[in-house]
Each structure stands twice: as structure tokens, then as C-alpha cells.
Symmetry: C2
Subunit: 136 residues, 2 copies
């Protein structure tokens, strides 16, 4: 099962998203690469040949994907949000200098000893980000 454009329609439907041409292109950009992309990067990829999708649609669509749980948001860089097609629980390694962002498998990572949450609060997610830089 690979991430062809044709398969994107089903993926979108399975997340209760009406598959339009633009949405398929944006999903394809994210899922065929399996990379963390900013809105800007998505915009550039989707419009490589000629301009096909507006900025408003890129932002609207990424927000929709997020709401529907198709992608995840990763906040590591103060200047832009990254969108992550990998929604299974995992962590991130961020290279501060290059801006390169990669996944850390949740497999063996264990976080223990967190204090109880304040009354009436529920966890939405736990983000673990390892910030690294080139040694020198």
C-alpha cells in the first residue's frame, strides 16, 4: 500500500474529509514524502509545475487535516509550524542549526514520574523534543 494520488482519496474519505483535487495534492505531498513540512514547503511542492493551489487553501487544508487527525503539528521552530504525516506516537530530534527535523521512535522511550495533572485537565499530548547541534 503506497501513497499514490489514487490512494489519497480513500485515505481522506476514511478521515471524513471530502477528497478534492487540492486536498489530494496536499495529502500526496505529505504522505508520499513522509517528511515534516511547513505550510510554505507544501505550497511550493504543490505548485511546482504551475500555480494550482492558493495560499488560503493550503492553510485551510492543513488545518482541516489537523482537526481530522490526519496529520500532526510539530512546534519546534519559533518561525514556522511543521506538519507531520506520522500520527503514531513518536518523538522528535531537531537539529538547531540546519533546521532538520526527524522522528524518534517511541518504542523504547519511557517517560516516568510526571506529576498528576491539575484537576479537570486532560492530556492532549506529550511532546518530547531532543534539540541537538553539530559538535565543534
Amino acid at each position: 500500500m503506497d501513497y499514490t494520488r489514487d490512494n489519497m482519496a480513500g485515505l481522506l474519505r476514511s478521515h471524513d474529509i471530502n477528497p478534492t483535487h487540492q486536498r489530494i495534492e496536499i495529502a500526496h505531498a505529505l504522505f508520499s514524502r513522509q517528511e515534516h513540512l511547513s505550510a510554505d514547503q507544501v505550497m511550493a511542492i504543490v505548485n511546482t509545475r504551475h500555480s494550482e493551489t492558493s495560499k488560503a487553501t493550503v492553510y485551510n487544508t492543513l488545518k482541516l487535516f489537523l482537526e481530522k487527525g490526519l496529520v500532526r503539528e510539530v512546534i519546534v521552530d519559533p518561525s514556522k509550524v511543521f506538519y507531520d504525516p506520522n500520527t503514531s506516537p513518536h518523538h522528535h530530534l531537531y537539529e538547531v542549526d540546519s533546521g532538520k527535523l526527524s522522528d524518534i521512535d517511541a518504542g523504547h522511550v519511557q517517560i516516568s514520574g510526571l506529576p498528576p495533572l491539575p484537576e479537570g485537565m486532560v492530556t492532549e499530548g506529550i511532546d518530547l523534543i531532543v534539540r541537538v547541534r553539530r559538535n565543534g
Copy 2:
């Protein structure tokens, strides 16, 4: 030892920062409150009585404090950076709805099983953010 303006000068000097009037005011805003503040909030605090410090100076000064290790940056909200006068290792609890950011003591929290870093990389920091929302 409390965070009076007079004590700020020594704190700045001990971090190799030339204590100017503006820098003392900005340090005082952060350290007397011991809260996470955005540049915008610092700006507002410092200029409550009448305008005393420019936007450029607030941004320059916060960046200087960061470089000198006097404060820490917390990236949790895609729309603004928070500055943290607490530089000892600790984690964060972020209330997504209200935007409220609070500290989690590093005391009993343990993170284990992280994979080895890529060759030639060195850890700059590990950020653990617990995102919570009001139950309902």
C-alpha cells in the same frame, strides 16, 4: 536575596552582560515575576508608566539574555516565543486553550530509552511539553 532592580545589575554582570537601564528593567520584569513572558508582554510591562524602551531593544535584549544563558526560550505556541527566567532543567505544562504555561519540576521525571545521537551531534537540550486541555 530577592530580585530588586539593584540586584539585577549584579546578575547581569555575572552573566557578562553590561547592565544598562533598559536591560535592568527587562531582567526585572522577568525575574521579579518568575513567569514565562513573551517579548510582547515584556514590552508592555517595561513601558507601563510611559514609553521607555523600544521594540528593537526588547528583542535585542531578550536575544542577548538567551545567548548569555540568563534566560531560556520555550517554544510551545506557534505564534510567539516565551522567555523563561528559570534556567535550571525543568519541563513544561501548557494549557492549550488558555495559553497558560507552567513549570514541571524535573525532580522525579525520568526519560529513558532515547536512542544514541547521530554521529558528531551533541544535545543542546531536551524539551518535554505536556499539552493539556480542560476536560469537557
